[in-house]
């Protein structure tokens, strides 16, 4: 099929197959290399497997029909995730460059795609590392018994518990007050919180020490950061299964509700989850695979990593929901106990008259004879299903729900330390890919002088990110982070991924790409890859993008805030963003997306302007008149 846009000069910009063979044999060039295949696989797995596997997938699974969610998830994993992953691995391995280098080599007008990847990696890296700073704060606070979030603090005159804590819960109070010291709205900045600044500094310094020399240092770090989460998950699974109520949680998670498959938002959420879970379009994966040898089997790698990623999501969901089941059962038991005690006290019945078993009928009897008394008691309704479906996602799951569950387990500090080490490792290994996706394009763009060592460039990137990330250390930092999460890491990535596929398939040329893969791994990609690369995957990404764009633009953009003086406290208050936030939203989502056509326009204009000077520029040399043409655009 000759579906290809004209692309002159492609052969001059990319190394040919013979050159690749020569480079392979002579090991020429100062391009870094992986010490062994394991490091490469662990780095990619670490980049793909992140916090989203632990706190986004379980929530989606539970809210979209449990076991039934596996069906759209697995289908889209195969149709969208694996092809895109294979594409990024193959193009990086073939063109042996970071994201900017790869897209520029394909066509100089496509540099914008690389720059967009750079911007997205930078913005996402900033707020992602702040989450790691929060994890570290909780980790530092886990070295005490009892844990600080297990009980409310007493007020100044030692008469009662602090009101904000008594009305909500100790875990809520510790998160919103002790950790974030959150203000009531995004406009109210509230100044920097010194303990958060310290944790942020620690997070960035730790990241710097691991990324100091690029893959030389990250390659060693991933032996720990990519494997430890699995160890901890297994420990938690064994611990969880021995707790009361854990099987209820797992059953709740996986009970299929096939009606959810009719709901389009289930499929869209599944597609979005697959896409974001694979850390595609950040540029990091292209960079990592460019350090491989030319004949590395990237097809096998893509399939293996996709399977590992999918398996990790399901495994983490099982563990999380076993613990959530335990917490829900504890809450249910407490609720029931409270009600029984109230009844015993009101009617002066002997202890043991009303138990969990006969609670329902006893309540009915008493209600029949003394309805007013029962009314005045204000008994709470205790329903296990309600407690189970209080499934939260994101930071709420890790820092509120899970920490509460941990306080109810014996030897809580140990479980707390393990849990936060796991979250830390998951986040850090994703940050390696983010930093790679920021630093390598900066080097390719020659923004810094060539003789500056990689250590200095990485240091500057970390320093600038740290300074800008100080906005997340303010009182309103949590709201800023939610803003970044919604806009910086969603729409631009979909745009970039779509452009990547169009670029490789229609501008680079699918025929050339097929030959390249045949050269690299020994056989041409089969029909499955052809169909998905050409039609299916771009279509899926386009559909998700249109849906997201329409939803975000048409709905009122709101956020939830913690306000102790609001009416529904402790329920979070829903507020609308102030008008000036829309400028920030445009910078986060619009600028990276518009950089793609913008750079193309810029180069076009520059070429047109300099074209006028080409004609007629002649140089008189000794031997002959030589006409000068511009060869470099």
């Amino acid at each position: 099929m000759k579906n290809k846009l004209p692309n002159p000069g492609l052969d001059d910009r990319i190394p040919s197959h013979q050159e690749l063979e020569r480079m392979e044999k002579e090991e020429a060039g100062d391009r870094p290399k992986w010490d062994n295949k394991t490091q490469y696989m662990l780095t990619c797995v670490g980049f793909c497997v992140g916090l989203g596997n632990v706190w986004r997938f379980p929530y989606l699974c539970q809210s979209h029909g449990g076991g039934a969610f596996m069906i759209p998830f697995l289908i889209l994993l195969v149709l969208e995730g694996i092809p895109l992953l294979h594409l990024e691995f193959a193009i990086g391995q073939r063109l042996r460059s970071g994201s900017v280098g790869v897209w520029t080599a394909i066509n100089p007008y496509l540099t914008g795609v690389g720059i967009a990847s750079l911007l997205v990696s930078f913005l996402v890296g900033m707020y992602y590392n702040t989450i790691i700073a929060w994890v570290m704060w909780y980790f530092f606070n886990s070295f005490q018994n009892p844990l600080p979030w297990s009980q409310c603090p007493v007020n100044a005159n030692l008469t009662d518990l602090v009101s904000e804590c008594a009305r909500s819960s100790p875990v809520d109070y510790f998160w919103y007050r002790d950790t974030l010291n959150t203000s009531t709205s995004i406009g109210d900045s509230g100044g920097l919180q010194w303990w958060m600044v310290l944790c942020l500094l620690c997070a960035w310094l730790l990241l710097y020490v691991c990324c100091l020399r690029g893959i030389e240092t990250t390659g060693k770090a991933v032996y720990v950061t990519s494997t430890l989460p699995y160890v901890v998950l297994t420990i938690f699974l064994i611990r969880g299964l021995t707790l009361k109520g854990s099987l209820d949680g797992i059953k709740f998670l996986f009970t299929p509700d096939l009606n959810e498959l009719m709901n389009p938002s289930t499929w869209l959420d599944a597609g979005a989850q697959v896409f974001y879970s694979f850390s595609l379009a950040f540029g990091g994966l292209i960079s990592f695979s460019s350090y491989n040898s030319v004949h590395n089997n990237c097809e096998q790698d893509a399939v293996i990593i996709s399977i590992i990623n999918g398996f990790t999501s399901v495994y983490a969901a099982t563990v999380i929901y076993s613990i959530i089941g335990f917490r829900a059962t504890e809450r249910f038991d407490d609720c029931l106990e409270g009600n029984i005690l109230a009844l015993l006290n009101a009617f002066s019945l002997a202890e043991g008259n009303i138990t969990e078993g006969n609670y329902a009928e006893s309540l009915q009897n008493l209600n029949g004879t003394f309805p007013e008394t029962i009314q005045s008691l204000d008994l709470k309704t205790c329903d296990l299903q309600t407690f189970l479906s209080q499934g939260v996602e994101g930071t709420g799951l890790a820092f509120i729900v899970f920490t509460e569950a941990i306080t109810k387990m014996p030897v809580s500090p140990l479980w707390s330390i393990l849990f936060f080490i796991m979250l830390f490792c998951l986040g850090l290994s994703t940050m390696f890919g983010s930093i790679e996706g920021t630093v390598v394009p900066l080097q390719d763009l020659n923004i810094f002088p060539k003789r500056w060592p990689k250590e200095a460039i990485t240091g500057i990137v970390c320093l600038v990110s740290f300074i800008i990330a100080l906005i997340f250390a303010q009182s309103s930092g949590n709201y800023w982070l939610a803003l970044f999460d919604s806009f910086a890491g969603s729409i631009p990535l979909l745009v970039i991924a779509f452009c990547e596929m169009i670029a490789v398939v229609y501008i680079y040329g699918i025929d050339r790409f097929n030959k390249d893969i045949e050269f690299m791994i020994g056989h041409k990609p089969n029909l499955f890859w052809q169909v998905t690369w050409r039609f299916v995957s771009p279509l899926i990404v386009l559909v998700i993008f249109v849906f997201y764009f329409v939803t975000k633009v048409s709905s009122n953009v709101t956020y939830i805030a913690w306000n102790p003086s609001s009416e529904d406290f402790p329920t979070l208050e829903v507020l609308e963003y102030p008008a000036w936030i829309y400028v920030i939203i445009f910078i986060l989502a619009g600028v990276p997306s518009l950089v793609v056509p913008g750079t193309a326009m810029f180069k076009l204009i520059r070429r047109c302007c300099s074209n006028k000077n080409v004609y007629g520029a002649e140089v008189d040399t000794v031997s002959a008149k030589v006409q000068m043409f511009t060869t470099k655009t």
Binding site: T104, P108, N141, F143, Q144, L158, L212, N345, S348, A350
Partner: protein, 220 residues
């Protein structure tokens, strides 16, 4: 005769009077609620008259401890309105005048002072031996000199800074070693090129530097 009738009346009236002093919602009385099964589970003892006597004795002890001058006795603690929950009301009479009740505030002070002893006497806690209306004082928070999180933070950051310095220093040393090695190799290569040695074959003629292949890959 009259004395004998008065004596009879006293015998009958005293308990009746006592009953009047102690009643549900008595203005100077406290309700006590005991949750034995919650506190002790399987080891819960039975609440009977002996336990009630023990309670009277403990309360008398608490009153004596607080007031110190006055000798309270078991008879000064009057109990009533027992239920199977186990809950009951009690009032305290003055040792000098059995018709006069000790005010609520004084009883509260006495109970607060000896709360720990009273709880321990019955193997119960503040939660399971409740004096309704007397709230337990909350434990003062333990404030360590340095918050424990700062200590862990210090350890981690110290290790990280040490790591950064170690890696940077080793990078610098590596680079210096490479540069020294390169200047020696570089000279040899250039000499070979100038002398016209290419692919190990001596070529005739001088080497034209104009055709060195120094930018094979196009820049942006």
């Amino acid at each position: 005769m009259l004395v004998w009738i008065l004596f009879l009346l006293c015998q009958v009236g005293a308990p009746a009077l006592a009953q009047d002093l102690c009643q549900r919602d008595a203005p100077n009385g406290y309700k006590v609620r005991i949750s034995l099964k919650t506190a002790l589970g399987e080891d819960a003892y039975e609440w009977n008259q002996s336990e009630m006597f023990f309670f009277q004795a403990t309360m008398a002890f608490a009153m004596r401890r607080h007031f110190q001058m006055e000798t309270y006795n078991v008879d000064n603690i009057i109990l009533c309105v027992q239920t199977s929950r186990v809950s009951f009301w009690f009032v305290v009479t003055s040792p000098d005048n059995t018709t006069m009740l000790i005010p609520k505030a004084d009883v509260e002070k006495a109970v607060r002072m000896s709360r720990h002893r009273i709880n321990n006497a019955f193997l119960l806690s503040d939660r399971t031996l409740e004096f309704l209306g007397i709230y337990p004082t909350l434990a003062a928070p333990v404030n360590p000199d340095t918050p424990p999180w700062l200590i862990v933070f210090g350890v981690v950051i110290g290790a990280v800074c040490a790591g950064i310095i170690a890696l940077l220093v080793s990078s610098l040393l590596q680079k210096r070693r490479k540069e020294k090695g390169m200047t020696e190799d570089g000279q040899d290569e250039e000499d070979m090129q100038v002398k016209g040695v290419e692919n190990g074959i001596n070529l005739d003629g001088t080497y034209n530097r104009g055709f060195t292949d120094d930018d094979r890959f196009t820049k942006l």
